[in-house]
Subunit: 336 residues, 2 copies
């Protein structure tokens, strides 16, 4: 991985940095930002770490998580340079009405199309081109991998705290070394991070084995509603179930993944009751089935293999509507 | 990892090998045996691969799985040398009334206590001391890691087929790089196996997303029996449940992992009914809780975080016995 020389000079020359990452932060956003902040501070630099949203509690095991601020401190003004991590627009970081002396982007997300490649819309130099330095490597499994190379290139010793953050960043974005983006390189970096003090078991337990009994009871209840129609698995969580178990709507995160372990299931849909005849549907799919397209039919959105939408209908009509959309989608020729 | 020189000479000098592994084979047993067989055959040797039990269908993605025989071919007699993989007694391999010219053990399971260390029981030279060469490394996360080093030391090129088998062996025994036995070394070996052609995503999908509907129904049924006593989660699978779902005993593999996602659970125990008042218990634990020690109290065995035993008792007595053992264990000072 070739690091832009101007990025290295920028980090070496400046004395203070405003480090920001995207809203609704997950492990890669948080871990790579924390590790970079620690690395720069070890060189005597000052950093301010910013995320518009709060850090989810199950990431509190990440060393330094408490350093994140969620409102921009008054000391930060136009004389500060910005480092934007794990995203490539100010909008995605929820930053408005602020200008920076200089800005560097470190990200592995596909950049938004630029002026030259778009039929209409943005002008050059606007948001879509944001960043004086744009180090964007979509092939990298995680921004944490890029920060790992950056820290090494700066000649900084990777401490245990940095290692835990970087390992967690890579673990989250590779499904703990299971997704298609998991390369031999990701494994080699992980090995170095373990040498530096990261514990695979401690981190995996912290990431995945933190469910409450209430949440697990809700999962069992949801699984008991399982209905398989063709290659679609449907599970349901009603408001009544929250009351019975003491769990909350955010506890249903990852529920739709469970039926996905069945080999013949192509789409797993969780129907969550929001109100009378009002449902939120979370879709997960495997391989080539693009659930973002299904969600779009209902004015929802998401990614190819994980998307969602809301619908006002009875449960049975909502299920039927999804199945019709699935059949329409799965029998149409696919574009990619 | 130092490989005994006599093991290397033995493998180089002999021309044919009877390779056997343990009953109820899982990924490490199957994958490491297949890889070793392929490696030896690439040197022009003849191998017979034996497992008393059949290979579970979800391991059929492992290249060469069809080479396993489940009854000892008549050609195999006392002139054959034996390689015992992923176990260290003939009993564990379900081999009876057969003698071998010479035998080598390659295993990462704690050996049964020897004569000198036992108060009573086995005489020297009996089953507990079995094997002319005993290469037993309990610190190795998987027998697959030992076979990896062995193949390299023999100067054999690791093919894609060997790599898939060895990666799967290591993946299974480390919980795909999540358990406490996952070392930097395991990651470095995995990286080499990816270089040799193993695909982490393909293997993970093959290992984890290949459940039948019947198996998933059995899981839901088992989860409905969940009982939490202190930090122990107990689930039960009865013979009746196999009938109701159409699933089979081998489908329960990994069931005890599910309750382990709850943060307050230290031990997860699956009780499988073998016969009237006869149960097989599979234990999983987190961190420092050593379930192998609990299993030993009931003449079972295994590893620190995954072990098992059988007990003749009513379900309720069997549960009580486990809980007593757990309390005794968890309140005793730990030796390591």
């Amino acid at each position: 991985m070739i690091i832009p020389p101007e990025l290295l000079s920028f980090l070496k020359e400046e004395g203070k940095f405003f480090i920001a990452t995207h809203v609704n932060p997950e492990g890669d956003a948080i871990g790579s930002s924390l590790a970079l902040s620690m690395a720069l501070e070890s060189l005597g630099k000052v950093t301010v770490l910013y995320d518009k949203d709060s850090i989810p509690e199950f990431y509190y095991f990440l060393p330094g998580h408490e350093k994140f601020t969620h409102s921009i401190p008054s000391v930060v003004n136009h004389t500060w340079p910005l480092i934007l991590l794990d995203c490539n627009t100010l909008e995605r970081a929820g930053i408005e009405g602020l200008s920076f002396k200089y800005s560097a982007i470190i990200d592995h997300h596909e950049p938004a199309p630029r002026f030259a490649e778009r039929g209409r819309g943005a002008r050059p130099g606007t948001e879509k081109d944001f960043g004086n330095i744009r180090w964007i490597i979509p092939e990298a499994a995680a921004t944490g991998m890029m920060v790992f190379y950056l820290i090494k290139e700066l000649g900084i010793n990777i401490t245990r705290e940095m290692a835990i953050n970087l390992y967690s960043a890579i673990a989250i974005d590779t499904g703990t070394f299971r997704y298609g983006n998991t390369t031999a390189e990701a494994f080699r970096i992980a090995a170095e991070l373990i040498d530096a003090g990261a514990s695979p078991a401690y981190i995996s337990n912290s990431l995945y084995e933190t469910w409450s009994e209430e949440r697990f009871s809700l999962l069992i209840m949801a699984l008991n509603t399982l209905e398989i129609r063709d290659a679609v698995a449907i599970t349901v969580v009603t408001r009544e179930m929250y009351k019975e178990t003491g769990a909350a709507p955010e506890d249903t995160e990852s529920f739709p993944n469970f039926p996905g372990i069945m080999k013949d299931i192509k789409v797993s849909a969780l129907f969550r009751e929001l109100d009378d005849n009002y449902w939120k549907i979370s879709l997960r799919s495997k391989g080539d089935i693009n659930v973002a397209r299904i969600a779009t039919l209902f004015e929802g959105g998401g990614h190819k293999n994980a998307a969602g939408y809301k619908i006002k209908a009875s449960l049975e009509s909502a299920k039927e509507a999804l199945l019709r959309a699935y059949y329409g989608h799965s029998h149409k020729p696919q574009q990619t």
